[in-house]
């Protein structure tokens, strides 16, 4: 049987890190195999920066970044990119806001000019603000309010599991807060967070580094830096007793259970063992929870979850949709029993090696459907940007794998004991409340 890798082909991502005069960090990674270039701008702002009464702001702002700047009119950001053969998007999370363009490589300077123009001179007006507020409301209806399990699993679970408001509230936020946002609020948000010294620019693909750096200085160099924003307190008090809640989902016709345990931040030493425990419990059909709940006990339709690491304290989660003739106690008992098995007996060398091989392959495949694996310029640019902003070290794109490969069975057992304990757990029972449910 294939166990430890025999002849591992060395693979590493070349990169260089620069800081230009206004404090913006720039990471470059050349690869000339396909005439495509990815440009990523990662801003150090996310839902974590929103105080009570201002939720949903970081995400609404992401929409505003496509609404026009001094030299790019409303709608033109899309057309400049797409008319020249590229694709683009933006994403907001608790930890960050990211924008990207993937372009034919001969349009790199255009992408840099576009990103620089909106960093320098975003123009927001009342009409666009009102319009995007409506678009965001539709986005919430689409993603959350009209989908079974979406609110309970994607919002409520986090509100219960985290104690610090900065971590607990959702990215989409409250529509009342969005309605209260004024043009002035939006302008202040822009000045505070969308400054070059609060951003990382990453470029990966088919380009010449020297030329690219010259273009970066030309377009971004004189955008003035701002006073760095106040650091956010994302610390979490330790949980000392189990927390339980029940929610009736009007759109669901099956019951489900969601569980979450608080775990340390992204860069802590324990995260490597937690990531392997994630693969052992969840990754693939041979994983423990799938085998137990879907195959042996035939009680669940699917099991998902695992390590969701954040720059601040993260969560380890489990989500199980199960058959209507089973009971919550039964499912919860099975999940807990499988975790206790790891806590008491550890994991086998064989499943640990399986998890390590899966992690090695995920680097190329990407974990979210292949979009961001290291085989694409976009995947490389994003990874480099994250490591630079969150960890202060782009070298991790190549060196971090070793940290995972060194994890021992004892370390996996130890993190299971320390973090997946009952008094660190939040349990949410989701009852089906759809009309016409057949029981």
């Amino acid at each position: 049987m294939p166990m430890a890798a025999k002849t591992v082909v060395p693979f590493s991502v070349p990169y260089s890190l620069h800081t230009i005069e206004n404090g913006m960090r720039v990471v470059l990674s050349e690869d000339h195999s396909v005439p495509v270039v990815a440009v990523v701008v990662l801003y150090d702002v996310g839902a974590r920066n929103e105080p009570p009464g201002r939720t949903g702001f970081a995400h609404l702002f992401e929409h505003m970044m496509f609404q026009g700047s001094a030299n790019v009119k409303k709608g033109e950001f899309y057309t400049f990119v797409e008319d020249n053969g590229g694709v683009l998007n933006g994403m907001t999370s608790n930890d960050f806001t990211i924008y990207f363009e993937v372009m034919p490589s001969n349009q790199l300077e255009l992408a840099l000019w576009l990103e620089a123009d909106r960093m320098r001179s975003l123009q927001v007006n009342q009409e666009n603000l009102d319009n995007q507020r409506e678009v965001v409301k539709e986005e919430k209806r689409l993603r959350v309010d009209n989908q079974p399990f979406s609110y309970a699993r994607g919002i409520l679970l986090y509100e219960l599991a985290y104690d610090n408001f900065a971590n607990a509230h959702s990215v989409i936020g409250s529509m009342e807060d969005l309605d209260a946002a004024t043009l002035e609020d939006v302008q202040r948000f822009f000045r505070t967070y969308y400054a070059p010294n609060n951003a990382v620019l990453a470029i990966a693909g088919d380009f010449d580094s020297e030329q690219a750096l010259e273009w970066v200085r030309k377009h971004f160099g004189d955008i003035p830096p701002q006073e760095p924003p106040q650091p956010v307190d994302v610390s979490e008090p330790e949980r000392t007793s189990e927390k339980r809640a029940t929610y009736t989902d009007k759109l669901a016709n099956l019951p489900a259970i969601a569980m979450a345990w608080k775990v340390p931040p992204r860069h802590s030493p324990e995260r490597y063992a937690l990531a392997l425990l994630d693969r052992i419990l969840f990754s693939g059909e041979s994983a423990r929870l799938h085998q137990r709940l879907v195959k042996r006990e035939k009680s669940a339709l699917g099991v998902s979850g695992g390590l969701e690491d954040r720059r601040g304290p993260g969560l380890f989660t489990t989500f199980v949709v199960f058959k209507p003739d089973r009971h919550f106690q039964q499912i919860e008992h099975s999940v807990t029993a499988e975790i206790e098995e790891v806590q008491q007996k550890g994991v086998t060398p064989r499943e640990l090696q399986r998890a390590k091989n899966q992690l090695r392959a995920e680097r190329y495949r990407g974990v979210w459907g292949g979009l961001y694996g290291l085989q694409t310029p976009l995947g490389r640019a994003m990874e480099l940007a994250y490591h630079t902003l969150f960890d202060g070290d782009p070298a991790l794109i190549n060196t971090e794998l070793q940290r995972y490969l060194e994890v021992t069975s004892e370390e996996v057992q130890e993190v299971a004991q320390r973090f997946l304990r009952r008094n660190n757990c939040t349990v949410l029972h989701i009852l089906p409340g759809a009309t016409g449910v057949e029981q």
């Binding site: 082909v9 030299n71 678009v135 090696q353 759809a434 009309t435």
Partner: protein, 451 residues
């Protein structure tokens, strides 16, 4: 250039860098399995698709879902390994191996670290040649399929797609996007075995491999693992044509509690291998196939009716469809439908502009290069050629064919294929609230979501 000019003027492109198209090597392995290989050594990784012309279109009329259940059960144990052993063997290689059926074919898709390709091929051959279809595994798969089916009925997107396919495709098998509880209950391990043995043969299949692998090494491994897999001369039935549409109709799926309306609006379109298809794709892209498109700029960016709005030209072998989609709040559903139909009407009267045509060509050719930047993207393009019966040089000629499309061609295909007054409008939402708003668009038929 002054500083002000640098800031105000979009920079021109630098010299275009050549796109090296993937080089395909083709050979026959073992007893007649056609193989297409693209060597790609950028990462020590391999992506594989074993496609078998056995899709839901080949389901017997009384057993919708048979191709899907067969594909699912392929990976649930072989004659040599129980399902757990099989899954573990795959995952220990750092591999994924999954089988799914879509409309025209089934695909066993795999990815693997290059160093573990040979053992992965063995597992792939085992699943295709010697699946167990063990009674307990089939029973569990049936039970879970039925539960999943009930769960899908709570999802508005599923309900919209289901009704839309029924309306558009009539008696053609494309009208069914999911099995029924009756059909699943009627399936036995023998039904699956029979479907498998009459469809999963090398002459009905194709293996596409993209990744860090040498042709000679691959051929040797394939000769060994697929030895004994014999061609059987598979024949496929032909199907009744989908109905032609003479007028616009509205099909409402009543979903109490919906806070949005899911809309699908459209009709049939020519097949992907039709000479008109690409010109229609250009038209579709300008209308609703990208963020800068007319539908997006109007319905989302100007009106704020929807987060997600666009249009799509589906690619299926026997019949395709042109569809516009959006999810909107109930009170604006009438206005949203009106705007969407109006955009098609405007196309019919005025076509698209010269600059829209140029920019759409750039967009299609640019995103084509982006697709070719991943192994999965390359494999997908090759599978499409084979499964949709596209010209064999489609990849090589793609950019040139896009470039050659003229405004006159666009005018022709718009007149020939886009008819707002014959479209089917499917809406999933609260009937009571939205029915009056949809009545102006045609006769409204209402059905419940739960059946």
């Amino acid at each position: 250039m002054s500083r002000a000019d640098v800031i105000t003027t979009p920079p021109p492109p630098s010299a275009l860098r050549p796109l090296v198209l993937p080089t395909r090597e083709e050979f026959t392995a073992a007893d007649g399995l056609r193989v297409i290989l693209v060597e790609d050594r950028r990462v020590p990784f391999v992506t594989l698709r074993l496609v078998v012309r056995a899709g839901s279109v080949h389901d017997p009329a009384n057993l919708p879902g048979l191709a899907a259940l067969t594909a699912h059960c392929l990976t649930q144990g072989t004659q040599k390994r129980k399902s757990f052993q099989f899954a573990r063997a795959v995952e220990e290689l750092g591999a994924t191996l999954e089988a799914h059926a879509n409309r025209d074919y089934s695909a066993v898709s795999a990815t693997v670290l290059a160093e573990n390709l040979t053992p992965l091929l063995k597992l792939m051959a085992e699943t295709v040649m010697q699946p167990a279809f063990a009674p307990d595994e089939v029973e569990l798969a049936k039970e879970n399929t039925i539960q999943t089916l009930r769960y899908q009925r709570t999802q508005p997107t599923f309900l919209a797609r289901e009704r839309y396919a029924q309306v558009l495709f009539g008696n053609h098998p494309y009208s069914r996007i999911a099995p029924t509880e009756e059909s699943v209950n009627a399936m036995t391990p023998d039904t699956l075995r029979q479907f498998h043995s009459s469809n999963y043969t090398p002459d009905n299949s194709l293996l596409v491999v993209v990744g860090a692998v040498e042709a000679e090494q691959l051929r040797k491994a394939l000769d060994r693992v697929f030895a004994g897999w014999q061609p059987r001369g598979v024949t496929h039935e032909s199907h009744e044509q989908p109905p032609s549409r003479e007028r616009r109709t509205v099909h409402l799926v009543d979903r109490p509690g919906s806070v949005q309306v899911n809309l699908l609006i459209g009709h049939l379109a020519p097949r992907p291998n039709d000479p008109d298809f690409l010109a229609l794709e250009v038209t579709n892209t300008a209308l609703g196939g990208r963020a800068g498109s007319r539908l997006f700029m109007n319905v989302r960016e100007q009106k704020g009716f929807a987060y997600d709005v666009g249009s799509h030209l589906s690619e299926h072998r026997e019949a395709s469809s042109f569809s516009m989609s959006a999810q909107v709040r109930p009170e604006v559903v009438g206005e949203a439908v009106e705007e969407m139909l109006k955009e098609v009407e405007v196309l019919r009267h005025k076509g698209i502009t010269e600059s829209e045509l140029d920019s759409t060509k750039n967009y299609l050719n640019g995103t084509f290069s982006i697709r070719l930047s991943t192994q999965g993207g390359i494999a997908g393009e090759i599978v499409a050629i084979e499964m949709l019966e596209l010209p064999r040089d489609s990849i090589e000629t793609y950019r040139e064919r896009v470039q050659s499309i003229t405004l006159e061609r666009i005018r022709q295909v718009v007149q020939r294929y886009l008819f707002p007054d014959r479209m089917a409008i499917v809406a999933v939402g609260e009937a009571e609230r939205i029915q009056p708003l949809l009545e102006p668009f045609g006769e409204v038929e209402v059905r419940p979501a739960m059946m």
